[in-house]
Point group: C2
């Protein structure tokens, strides 16, 4: 009982998990195959080795339930982990709800978000494989900042292709990456064939995550093995690394003496939601699922709620492996909303499979309602959330209001994946009534099924 | 021994101190009198009550050793306290030093700095005294953000006068304050007589902390008791509230099984340094002092190292009570450096007395060397520090190098008073070689003694 009175639930350094959890070991949905974007045949390990070190490729396909976290990675996790689990008591009071609202606060990471959880092992496994240089893309800048920090700590050079709209609109994110020693290019850039082809069409192209991925991958492919590529979401090994969030949260909910009825996270590629949800799903699958898992996406990029579950390219230029996922089409250009980290056309294959099988729910929310929730949360709890994370807050508040209306106790757990200190221009617009909802891209969804790549199943 | 291997030293919620520590109870230097800026006579309680609620005035003059922290204040402290004590192992390694470097990380506060430690009790004691509206000033924006958050939580309206240079150069800080519901004016502003007088001379006046203080105080004085004023540093009650930092750090150093040889903090008004140092000084005074206490200031605002220890106004317009302190003169305009929080002409009276008595050392450091230290720290520890806090890092690194050169073990503890997520334009300038050191203001120091106000000692 005493524990239930706390606000923050701390764990000690020795509680940092020693294993990541692999959802594929327990998921009722078997892993889906990956295809070569050029040949449309099943991808080979050799083709993947152009992009990733062997250790990460093995993590991508392993069916082992637990993957050990190397001691060198745990050492750096100690700089910010375990992160706090916080009971949002003041928000509960403001909402006058019988619900209990908990959040796992990944914004305590010095890079500002959960992205560091996978950046550190990606840099580590590259380092021990002899990689001296990496490339990546970044949208809002959270992933680029995290990988820049991790590469700095392992002595790896990093080139970041940053979506031009963010490069211009979020200069502070570029400065963080440069402070950590990374080289940052506005994407599309003159550095790559892909970039040049977009710049020829439009010299002031605002870019997209799909284009930036194409550029980063092209540089790795063209480097003749000198540079590897790092992706901040979507892939199985990224979901794996992020489960450290849920493993900690399991212990912390236990300290609080409660168990969630619903787990909520925002989804772009799906990694912060999956990282929190999968360890809880594992426990639930042991005894028949009883937690609701709720993924929250923007109405402007509704991959789960409006997309097709099929094979598609991971990038715009079609040079990244083809994955089975919920997709809006690799040529999808979302309306410019402030949650840059959610503006991706696809969704992690593992999460896509679980959603398709009905084990995960999804909801799309509008940008203005998201910022309304963000400001309400900030005023109650003091933390200014990232616009991405505020999608989860919106849904958590809606759940708490629903619980109030039904007069039922409900334990809500959401992932506050990052802080918003570098997104304040968006708050400025919201506070001065200059924010729009972003349009649902009806036209872009027409004829989508026909535009997807056709892959060759073996046999 | 086991504890010595940790990186972060956590305390639990129940370890949040229940008392603030009052240095005046143990200081060998007696408190100095305060004078009315208009009459130059000893100030009366009635004159102070125009600005502050009675509870804070009592804290200002109390000689009690311990002042209880109200439960309502501890409840909000729980949102972020106890903050971490972190061993900077990676920095030690990078410096190849036998020194052990610890830092108390006040940037974990949701407002981004230690300022919230006093903002919360100031808002609370105002609230219970019936205050519905407050005014304040802010330089870099750390104090304004903290008080905006605290006022929001206690339902108090807040007007903030923000130094115009920061208002223009740090728009994100304004947005944070607005997100927490505060009204923000660029200072000098047309809202006050003081502001208008400066604007008449120069419509694009860049402002100063001294002018902004004058404006905030004027609004409170002119409100006929409707609005109270809050100050983020300098005064005794602010030092008192900040001792929560040192009380926690004492317990945490004990967990680490070490005791500091030197304690370091940056000083503008002196509150973050005093907050960390005073509880350690209390322990040392029991058995004869053996810790060195090192205050670090910018060469561009060298109050301790170049100022005069005498009575002076706390603000530029001369409407704030006269305090005995190290001062560069209330008309002092510092060179524009990025550590806006350190650009104050005076210094807390308690700290001034201790420095004058030789119990505290001081050093002035140059801006370029400060940013060099900041980037080295960020690359080792992942945290991008506020430019103010980076002054402490500079001195800590210098101590660690000195220990290496003398081949001696030295335990260094410094206060990392805030993060630098809202100061990245300064990093941008540093990384692109556009930062200067700021000049030592020789001309402004000439004839200083003659310009100070003459107060009337009683009897």
């Amino acid at each position: 009982m005493k524990n239930q009175e706390q606000t923050r639930y701390h764990l000690s350094e020795s509680d940092i998990p020693r294993f990541w959890y692999n959802m594929n070991a327990d998921s009722p949905v078997p892993p889906t195959p990956v295809f070569n974007p050029i040949t449309k045949e099943l991808i080979t390990k050799e083709a993947l080795e152009v992009l990733f070190p062997l250790a990460l490729i093995e993590q991508e396909t392993t069916m082992e339930r637990y993957v050990p976290i190397p001691e060198e990675v745990r050492e750096i996790y100690k700089l910010y982990r375990p992160t706090s689990l916080i009971r949002a008591r003041r928000l509960e009071k403001a909402l006058n709800t019988p619900a209990h609202i908990y959040f796992k606060y990944e914004g305590e990471s010095p890079a500002g978000s959960h992205k560091l959880n996978t950046a550190i092992p990606q840099a580590f496994f590259n380092k021990i494989s002899g990689t001296h240089a990496m490339t990546t893309e970044t949208g809002a800048g959270q992933w680029g900042s995290a990988l820049a920090m991790a590469c700095q700590m392992f002595g790896i050079d990093l080139e970041v292709f940053m979506v031009n709209a963010s490069f211009l609109g979020k200069p502070y994110r570029r400065v963080i990456m440069e402070t950590f020693g990374a080289q940052v290019f506005a994407s599309p850039s003159p550095q790559t064939k892909t970039g040049r082809s977009y710049l020829e069409k439009r010299p002031d192209h605002s870019g997209s995550l799909g284009i930036a991925i194409s550029e980063a991958v092209e540089v790795a492919v063209e480097s003749g093995g000198q540079k590897k590529y790092g992706l901040g979401s979507v892939l199985n090994h990224v979901m794996l690394h992020q489960t450290i969030i849920g493993e900690e949260a399991l212990k912390q909910m236990d300290l609080a003496g409660e168990y969630p009825d619903v787990i909520i996270g925002c989804v772009g590629g799906g990694s912060n939601f999956s990282g929190l949800a999968f360890p809880f799903l594992r426990e639930d699958l042991k005894g028949g699922q009883r937690i609701r898992l709720l993924a929250v996406e923007p109405t402007a990029t509704p991959s789960l709620t409006r997309g097709i579950y099929d094979f598609d390219y991971g990038d715009s230029a079609g040079i990244v492996p083809i994955l089975k996922m919920y997709t809006l089409g690799s040529d999808f250009i979302p309306d410019p909303i402030h949650a840059g980290g959610l503006r991706y056309h696809g969704m992690a294959p593992i999460l896509s499979g679980l959603y398709n099988a009905g084990l995960v729910e999804a909801v799309a929310v509008e940008q203005r309602a998201v910022f309304e929730a963000a400001v309400q949360f900030a005023r109650a709890e003091g933390i200014v959330p990232a616009p991405e994370s505020a999608h989860a807050i919106r849904a958590a508040i809606d759940e708490a209001i629903d619980a109030r209306e039904k007069d039922e106790k409900r334990v809500i757990l959401f992932n506050l994946s990052g802080h918003g200190f570098l997104d304040l221009s968006a708050y400025d617009q919201y506070l001065h009534n200059e924010i729009t909802n972003g349009k649902v891209p009806e036209a872009q969804l027409e004829g989508l099924a026909e535009r997807l790549p056709k892959v060759n199943f073996p046999g």
